[in-house]
Amino acid sequence: MPAARTSQGTDLASRALHETAHRVLVPAFDVPAFDVPAVNVPIIKEEQTVTELLRPAAEWELQSIIARLAAQKQAVEVVGHGALRNAGRPSAAATVISTASLRGVTLYEPNELVMSARAGTPLFEIEAELASRGQMLPFEPVDLGPATGAPAGALSIGGVFATNISGSRRVFSGSARDHLLGVRAVNGRAELFKSGGRVMKNVTGLDMARSLTGSWGTLAVLTEVTFKVVPLPEAMTTLVYRNLPDDLAIEALTAAMGTPFEVTGAVHLPKVAASRLGNQKLAALGEGLTLLRLENFAASVDYRRDKLKEALRIYGTPLELGSAETWGLWSDLRRVSVMPYSAETSLWRISTAPTKGPEIVAAIQKFMAAHAFYDWSGGLVWLEVPAAADAGASDVRRAVAVRGGHATLIRALPEVRASVDVFEPLKPEMERLSRGIKAAFDPHGLLNRGRMYANF
């Protein structure tokens, strides 16, 4: 069996080829070390009834495993390092395939802003490699681990694309899905297939690569992903507006997004969420905080900060954070740390038009004590609600349905996630298409059966 390649397997030759042309951009601040978690996160907890854990180290090995499971019509749970096992609908499968041994960066061309990595490569490894060359992932992937009671830092790059949960910068630069260029994957027919490639522009055939994003491993097991990366900014700043009520805060954020100053983060933290910030100075203010981030060359950040303050002067005079503090603050938000794990609460993730965000929250707050964290200038709401048998699903879904958008239950006890719709329920025509797509990839219903929808 071929050994799993590690990051040493990076294509050094092709990197050397461009060494002369490539100048590493040095940010004007220290990029702090990334979380380096326990590398071998326990995938399986003792109380679970998993009888078989399979860790293929090569694509052919994964194919042969799935071929055997297909012959036996045996369902299987697909995981990376287990970071997402507490999210989505729980799997009932006794067999688990982990991509943890499919590990390592396989191609990195800083001058072409492109990287390929095997699906089980830990995200922290990828981000450290990128930072060493003055680059980063554009979409700030969210680590759901801490918010769902799983370990932090266990997310794999495959899991990033399988769930397509992007962070704050998504509002400016697009989602994980938007930056995926190509995949290799094995479907439920044990077929190894590829789609897309390593180039930025590619309209050759149906876009099967992007179509796998957000499918939570229910269609195919990703073995390798190729994605676009971007340079780290030279400088960053955060403007912090204080004490704005939700609706005014969202008005300020959408106004900021409507300027030409390329705001790369637009977050509103009402009082409760703000008090949980890791940044003690901000948490201690005891106020709702509205955050706007700028990232660019240093001279541009200075210029745009002044222009933005002027455009938003009716919302008050903001505090200003420097580059290092900005990096720390938004890294904190990437872990949804203001919505920490608790068995007493459930967590929803609501996607809507930005100005509808506060309306939806206000409507839900009529029924329950809910705490919000607004991202994407109001278009993404992380909503903490009291734990309940249905996690407040009927009230949440009604409030969203009336105003447009959709809601996903992120945190709840397994029995709750097994009994209510975790993902937005499908309309009949969408269910027909979704079932058809599932059957096209995985006709025996082997892969992550029930992880997204109860019946397929």
């Binding site: 042309a21 590619n202 957000g214 340079p231 106004a255 409507g258």
Partner: protein
């Protein structure tokens, strides 16, 4: 250009032309149907004009409901349908067939809703690309993808082909700028995907639809992202003595952390033709020219352009011209945007659209020259260098069939080269009929089977835009009228 095989049309369907027209007239009204030969002739080809087919009928529905009625009727009666926007496809994506109805969405061209606070526009799909930006521009916003044909091409066509444009280096292509669509399946089912929010729920059906080349359904409405325009934008010209230097300079600019809005490339033949046509002020003593545009305030633009000039310095540019005013900027872009037309004035040409990894640029340019010389043909290269999307224009004389054949063969060789170096067959023009049978160069039979199963989920009868995108050898079994001995040359 006579190589692509097309299925034998179904004479039974052609014989029922008048009956079918009457049936559809009863569903959506007679004025929406073109049956006379002169009227149909206007739709016999798209921008790949070497191929022509008279459609069975042309239908111009006005609403999603009418599209649904027509498609359901066609589905029930096993009649093929060719969806069409403005017919500007460069790959034969909208080429009709004698036994197929052309369903043209051009009458559905309204802006339905525009919301500046939430930064989206909901429009009917027959609207032209430029009309969206014109409407959004009333408050300083714009719709980012800007294909060269943006004055004429419809959003429907942009969605079908996942169109890009000169400015997609910074802003992405169509798939990055669409939030939702309303579409009609072949059986008439109306489906809403996504909406005004950023991420659509469930399986990513938008990814299937955008770039599906009319294979999966007919999009009638779309919700697109609109963005606030930058304070200003200005280009600069960098001329080099060799393609290698220009290619290395592109990599150095991007590697230095600058992502310009556009980096366009022209070689000497293209420069000469464009300069003669547009008097853009291009240097005539260089082998390779880069047009690099950046955005921001006046000060930011000056800083960035000077920084780019510094980065370019080690590569020995023979010419560095920073545009000094709006008039000069407009002339620089007028030359680039008129490039295809300018080349068209001196010769017939065959435009290719492969994409390659940037690091392969010098090698590929050399090989393109060699390939074309091998067929005794000249080539002009004009392309989006920032993202490696090549547009070699192979020059030939359309009145000499053997030269046309050579151009097509040279084009195929170039596309094989693009795939060989790690790129792809098409970056923004699409597969259509033109590159259909080259798909096997890029994809294995399994890769294609995975795609074709999705086609079957959306369109079980394979009635939508038949005999395109997928190699006929692989898809023929699904397509009525195509079997052994039934195919023919165009």
């Amino acid at each position: 250009m006579t190589f692509v095989r097309l299925p034998e049309p179904d004479q039974g369907v052609i014989g029922r032309r008048a009956i079918i027209a009457d049936d559809i007239a009863r569903l959506i009204g007679g004025p929406q149907i073109i049956i006379d030969e002169d009227g149909r002739r206007a739709f016999e080809t798209d921008a790949l004009t070497a191929y022509r087919r008279m459609p069975l009928l042309v239908v111009l529905p006005r609403t999603t409901d009418e599209v649904s009625k027509v498609l359901r009727y066609c589905s029930d009666n096993a009649i093929k349908v060719i969806p069409r926007g403005a017919g500007t496809s460069l790959c034969g994506g909208a080429l009709p067939a004698e036994d197929a109805i052309v369903l043209c969405v051009s009458k559905m061209n309204r802006v339905l809703e525009i919301d500046f606070a939430n930064r989206f526009a909901r429009v009917e799909s027959g609207i032209t690309n430029l009309a969206i930006s014109a409407r959004a521009g009333q408050q300083g916003f714009f719709y980012a993808p800007d294909p060269s044909s943006q004055l004429a091409c419809t959003l429907a066509g942009n969605l079908a082909m996942n169109s890009g444009g000169a400015h997609c280096l910074k802003y992405g292509v169509t798939t990055h700028n669409v939030l939702g669509v309303k579409m009609v399946l072949m059986d008439g089912t109306i489906v809403d995907i996504g909406g005004a929010h950023l991420d659509a729920p469930g399986y990513d059906l938008l990814s299937y639809m955008i770039g599906s080349e009319g294979q999966l359904g007919v999009i009638t409405e779309a919700t697109v992202r609109i963005l606030k325009a930058a304070e200003g934008a200005r280009p600069m010209l960098l001329g080099f003595a060799s393609p290698e230097q220009a290619g290395a300079c592109v990599a150095a600019i991007i590697g230095a952390g600058i992502v310009p809005v556009a980096i366009e490339y022209m070689d000497r033949p293209a420069i000469e033709v464009c300069e003669a046509y547009a008097a853009a002020g291009y240097p005539l003593d260089v082998e390779a020219l880069l047009i690099v545009e950046v955005e921001g305030s006046e000060t930011e633009i000056n800083v960035l352009l000077n920084r780019i000039a510094e980065i370019a310095h080690p590569f020995g540019p023979k010419s560095v011209v920073i545009s000094s005013d709006a008039g000069q900027s407009a002339r620089i872009w007028a030359g680039r945007k008129a490039a295809f037309g300018a080349v068209g004035r001196i010769s017939d040409y065959y435009c290719m659209d492969g994409t390659i990894p940037l690091g392969q640029l010098p090698r590929v340019l050399t090989r393109i020259g060699e390939i074309c010389a091998g067929y005794g043909l000249k080539v002009a290269n004009i392309f989006h260098a920032g993202d490696g999307n090549l547009h070699p224009l192979i020059l030939y004389d359309a009145n000499k069939p053997e030269e046309a054949a050579k151009a097509e063969q040279a084009g195929a060789d170039i596309l094989r080269l693009c795939v060989e170096v790690g790129g792809c067959l098409t970056g923004e023009h699409g597969v259509g009929i033109e590159k259909r049978d080259l798909m096997t160069v890029q994809f294995s039979s399994v890769d294609l089977a995975v795609q074709m199963r999705i086609k079957t989920v959306f369109d079980p009868g394979w009635l939508l835009n038949a005999a395109k995108v997928f190699p006929l050898d692989a898809s023929g079994a699904h397509i009525a009228g195509h079997g052994p001995g039934q195919s023919r040359a165009a």
